[in-house]
């Protein structure tokens, strides 16, 4: 199957990160292809979130690096990652609590818009037009994740499931090429997980590549095109779910013997 592979969107080459003596990532190399849903799993403390944080610029890796969309990713500042087209959600939801749901998504448009402070003070026609476009797009995105009726509520007053959806909408507002979801199904019941699954498939269908970190093995195996398993900071295997599920090392490391 090596002949007609889709082009890689993200390549990690020997990414290493240690905190003092703890080796959180040991030379992890993996490839995410355009248009796929890529799962990253592993036991607690395996380094999944550390990998995520290196990629999105929250941490600077101690070794190795990333190539994203054909160019090296200078991962030293999160805002650059967002500008390049990598958006993320957080394991422990990080919304702008005292802003409304709509405003949260509007903040997501920041990186794709231009209006400066002078334009805002003078309220120029260009600023007004851009502002209207931002609002319009944010409303569309709230519809897309189906929480439009909560648009004017403060983010912190939304239900847990809606907060997860809002975080995804905010990430989508940055027009990402790669959407990284850090344990989006954590704390969700079966119905909510099912709805989330539909949402993720929809996003992929609309052309965004997805990297999914998840504890829910059933969700990952059912949803992902390919899966990578991390254990003690090292990559165990990277393959399609059917193969990964049967791999002896994975069963020992993660799925439980």
């Amino acid at each position: 199957m090596s002949t007609n592979l889709p082009t890689p969107l993200l390549e990690a080459k020997a990414v290493a990160k240690h905190f003092g003596g703890v080796k959180a990532l040991r030379d992890v190399s993996l490839t995410i292809r355009r248009g796929e849903i890529y799962g990253l799993i592993g036991p607690n403390g395996a380094g999944k979130t550390t990998f995520f944080n290196c990629m999105t610029g929250l941490y600077v890796p101690d070794g190795g690096g990333f190539t994203f969309d054909g160019a090296p990713l200078v991962a030293d500042a999160p805002q650059h990652a967002a500008a390049r087209g990598i958006a993320r959600t957080f394991q422990n939801i990080r919304l702008f609590g005292n802003m409304t749901a709509l405003e949260n998504v509007m903040v997501g448009r920041h990186v794709r818009t231009r209006a400066g402070i002078v334009g805002a003070m003078l309220n120029t026609p260009a600023t007004r037009a851009e502002e209207a476009a931002i609002r319009q797009r944010a409303i569309e995105l709230l519809h897309y994740v189906r929480i439009e009726e909560r648009a004017d509520d403060l983010a912190k007053n939304l239900s847990y499931g809606d907060q997860r959806r809002l975080e995804i909408a905010r990430a989508l507002a940055t027009e990402p090429k790669l959407l990284c979801l850090d344990e989006p199904a954590a704390g969700m019941n079966a119905t909510e997980t099912e709805e989330l699954r539909d949402l993720i498939e929809g996003i992929r269908h609309d052309g965004t590549t997805i990297l999914l970190i998840e504890h829910d093995v059933k969700l990952v195996m059912g949803l992902c095109d390919r899966v990578a398993v991390l254990d003690y900071g090292a990559l165990v295997i990277e393959d399609v779910p059917a193969v990964v599920q049967k791999d002896q090392r994975v069963i020992e490391a993660y799925l439980g013997a």
Binding site: P78, Q79, A87, M99, I117, M121, T127, E131, L154
Partner: protein
């Protein structure tokens, strides 16, 4: 613009306009001192709204805000007084003052970008004191600020031949100096309100609020937090600089004493007490906190005489006691401020309901 044509808001705007225009004449009945108090109230509205950008929107606790006010005031004092023999016009001095304050804001902002909350408060507090002490000591070896004696005989605000000091006759009305300054300050305050409103619902304004709420999430959606924070410091500082210039011109005298830590804290208290981030609340906080101490100054003595027939307590110390008590009570019973934004009010209301349930 259509909302201005709405009869109800038109009525409201007309009423507020008449009240704002007539207020100094009412105050003048109690003497020009009250018009001056009114002037300072509006000046504090201006300052508080400037600080509101830094504290209310961007959530950066700034305890050295008065330093920018000092920079603006001294800029005016040095460029329009016999001290250096310079008498530049307002449209030269005010932009220079605003620009210098803006630079000071960036200078303060750059080393503190990674600090938040208490730590930021301590650094800004130190900065405010540094500026004051500089003004106090820059009289030797070269006399720049004239040290603790301050600078006197500063030019008043003037547009061409129209000077803001002394009396003027217009349409048969006699306008005193403080009254003219009042109208100037109201115009400036309206301008700063409009700017605050526009910034609040702008791309940059939302970025400020996002940083206030969660800096890591703000970075993750691509906000350059360094630049956006510096912008908040610079904006707030520029307003402080303009206010300082008008203050120097109005007083005709500046000295380092006017820029003590207490002033920074007062302005911060206006923002917090009124309702952080909510423009009407900040205005209310500024007006109340600037007028209340003065009202107490004039009220405490006569009330004691009426009640007890003699002075029980020194009015000056009782004034600060009542003032402090008022602050404590407001923070106890209205933790979000006297006039919080509807969202914040709703949220605190819900919290209280939870506690009761």
């Amino acid at each position: 613009m259509s909302k201005w044509l709405n009869p109800r808001s038109f009525f409201g705007v007309t009423l507020i306009t008449i009240a704002l225009l007539g207020l100094p004449f009412v105050a003048a009945m109690g003497g020009q001192a009250w018009v001056r108090i009114l002037d300072f109230a509006i000046l504090y509205v201006f300052l508080a709204l400037g600080l509101n950008i830094v504290v209310g929107y961007a959530g950066l606790l700034d305890l050295g805000y008065i330093a920018f006010y000092a920079v603006g005031a001294y800029t005016w004092a040095l460029l329009a007084s016999p001290h250096f023999g310079l008498h530049l016009p307002i449209w030269v001095i005010l932009p220079i003052g605003a620009a210098l304050a803006c630079i000071a804001g960036v200078l303060l902002g750059s080393p503190t970008l990674k600090l938040r909350g208490d730590y930021l408060a301590i650094v800004t507090l130190g900065f405010g004191e540094i500026v004051r002490i500089f003004m106090n000591n820059l009289n030797a070896p070269v006399n720049i600020t004239n040290g603790p004696q301050g600078i006197t005989l500063i030019d008043p605000v003037a547009f061409g031949d129209f000077r803001f000091s002394g009396n003027t006759q217009i349409f048969g009305l006699t306008l005193s100096g403080p009254m003219k300054y009042y109208y100037l300050l109201v115009a400036l305050a309206i301008l700063v309100v409009i700017i605050n409103l526009r910034l609040q619902n702008s791309r940059i304004g939302r970025a400020w609020q996002a940083i206030r709420e969660d800096e890591i999430a703000a970075k993750a959606v691509g906000i350059n937090t360094r630049n956006v924070k510096l912008l908040a410091f610079a904006m707030g500082a520029s307003f402080g600089g303009i206010a300082g210039g008008v203050f120097a011109a109005m007083q005709g005298f500046v000295s380092p004493e006017s820029f003590s830590l207490m002033e920074s804290i007062m302005i911060l208290a206006m923002v917090v007490l009124g309702g952080m981030g909510h423009i009407p609340g900040v205005i209310l906080g500024a007006v109340l906190l600037s007028i209340l101490p003065e009202a107490l100054r004039y009220g405490v003595g006569p009330i004691q005489m009426a009640l007890f027939g003699k002075m029980m307590v020194d009015p000056e110390s009782l004034r600060m006691l009542v003032f402090g008590l008022a602050l404590v009570l407001v923070m106890r019973f209205k933790p979000a401020g006297l006039w919080p934004s509807p969202e914040r009010k709703r949220e605190l209301g819900e919290k209280q309901a939870e506690v009761k349930a």
